[in-house]
């Protein structure tokens, strides 16, 4: 290569070409003309990368804008407070009444319950897979967990209402009976025996978000630098102490991100909750044994009303809230992760 280039360098016009030592820089005619080299491949790829970046920002803005524009006329025509009311009556376009409050409660309650159940279990599975399971077992086991993520949510819905809900009824009744003094376990606005409660929905959602939280946490835990692990062990740490001093701090940010991914999925989950939650117009008791609908499942339930732009706008307004909610959740997750950046 080098010898082939030499004659070209030598003929580079009147430029101050340094005498060629074996390690010396190789000047080319382009440098002599003092114009930076532009390779078509570089430009093409740069263009493609910038374009993709712009595209995704534009897409998100467009979705947000679409939701906002479609929602504004309906919000204007709304007869009740959108954020302060729980009434949802959109049958008549001239007397629109839609409030997000109850939907918001059911959405947040199911998702937070799911997260509370799934987070410790995922942590346990991820640590088991990365640091306890024998290598031969870890791989197939991880595969099975991943497979859980591939199950369509309609299947989870069917399983949830037909199998899990009846199974959970005794548990729910026991909780209600023994812990009923805590508002969250008090009677809700639907029957506990029916099973179509926030409680059942939360458990099903927990199963649904388990794989994503586990998979992401596992990847992060696996990347704990070997020297940190050995450093802890060499100091006389037991396995658990080693996990606590190296793997968990190292993976914490990733674990929180994983949980937020799971929460995002739970907040937006539609079909499973559409099947599970018992519809009701009653005021929620702020209990795990409430029924109702989440924002997403309410929108699915209202699909028949989308032919009228004003009615559809009411659902779109609800969708906008869900959109913002996931944004806020993501922002919070980032803040949590960035909080300890100095130690990253």
């Amino acid at each position: 290569m080098r010898t082939a280039l030499r004659p070209r360098a030598g003929s580079g016009g009147g430029s101050a070409t340094a005498p060629h030592t074996p390690e010396g820089p190789i000047s080319t005619p382009n440098i002599a003309q003092s114009r930076p080299v532009r390779r078509p491949g570089d430009r093409l790829f740069r263009g493609a990368a910038v374009g993709s970046g712009v595209f995704i920002v534009a897409l998100i803005s467009a979705i947000g804008l679409f939701l906002l524009l479609q929602a504004i006329p309906s919000l204007r025509a709304n007869q009740v407070g959108f954020l302060t009311s729980g009434v949802w009556n959109t049958t008549s376009a001239t007397d629109l009444q839609f409030g997000i409050l109850y939907l918001l409660w059911v959405t947040v309650a199911t998702s937070v319950l799911a997260l509370a159940l799934a987070m410790p279990i995922s942590l346990g599975i991820a640590l088991f897979l990365t640091h306890y399971a024998p290598r031969r077992l870890a791989r197939p086991f991880a595969y099975v967990v991943d497979l859980l993520a591939a199950v369509p949510s309609i299947i989870f819905g069917l399983w949830g209402i037909k199998v899990l809900a009846p199974t959970l009824v005794p548990v729910a009744e026991w909780l209600n009976h023994n812990l009923g003094f805590i508002p969250l376990f008090a009677e809700g606005n639907v029957t506990i025996a029916g099973g179509g409660t926030v409680f059942t929905a939360g458990v099903v959602l927990a199963v649904m978000i388990l794989p994503i939280i586990t998979a992401v946490s596992r990847e992060v835990f696996e990347r704990t630098p070997r020297e940190h692990i050995e450093g802890a062990l060499a100091l006389g740490a037991t396995k658990w102490e080693m996990l606590r001093t190296t793997v968990l701090p190292f993976g914490k940010a990733g674990y929180v991100s994983a949980a937020m991914l799971g929460l995002g999925r739970a907040l937006g989950e539609t079909v499973a909750l559409y099947l599970i939650l018992s519809a009701t117009t009653a005021v929620p008791e702020l209990s795990f044994f409430d029924g109702g609908a989440t924002i997403a499942s309410k929108i699915a339930l209202g699909a028949a009303e989308f032919n009228n732009p004003l009615t559809a706008g009411a659902y779109i307004a609800a969708g906008l809230v869900l959109f913002l909610l996931t944004f806020v959740v993501n922002a919070l997750a980032r803040a949590v992760v960035a909080g300890k950046k100095e130690y990253a």
Binding site: H228, G231, L235, G236, P249
Partner: protein, 258 residues
Amino acid sequence: MAKRIDIKDVNIYYGKFHAVDSVTLSVPPRSVTAFIGPSGCGKSTVLRSLNRMHEVTPGARVEGRVLLDGEDIYAPSVDPVEVRRTIGMVFQRPNPFPTMSIRDNVVAGLKLAGVRNRKKLDEVCERSLRGANLWEEVKDRLDRPGGGLSGGQQQRLCIARAIAVQPDVLLMDEPCSALDPISTLAIEDLITELKQDFTIVIVTHNMQQAARVSDQTAFFNLAGVGQPGRLVEVDDTEKIFSNPSQKATEDYISGRFG
């Protein structure tokens, strides 16, 4: 403090692979023993068998006996965690815990051992950092992350962390190979100071370093490709570098052999 190590007929395996063949050697207390030899000859493996770190690698096992003042650390009743508490280790790449402050790094071993007394921890922290010649450089920023220090400072932090628990033995696995010459010099001076209190075993690729810091040198070599590593000879450092009894050792230290 500062115990004697007797390695007796130790064979080390990774799964079916026989990595080190029958090593027997003694390390007197309050001295520095250097392990030298070409890459892959098993010197780090032998070092890691001295605090039972070797068995952390899946499939790895050790046969034979390693006596610490006469007590076999491979006896069935011995807990490897306890062994590692009394035999400290410093690694090739500085590995302070990135999520901990300088102070927490130094006292991490004590905290693991259950020491909670704040005053005692601060005392040990200062003493260990002074012992590692790092105190003056970091005393004003003990609450800053350990990862923010320079490579040489991080390695001295790791030494402080290792000596904070007052181990009987200090093992060092190429502690200067990732450091610049000035930091290397600082660590070497430190090793010379530390041998007043500790028994030190150091693996090094740098023969000048072995000659400078050690009292005793062990030369390891491979019998051949795919063959296990073995101990060729061990003797006073002065003798190894001036008049070794084995030709292989002479070839290696004079650079006639890679």
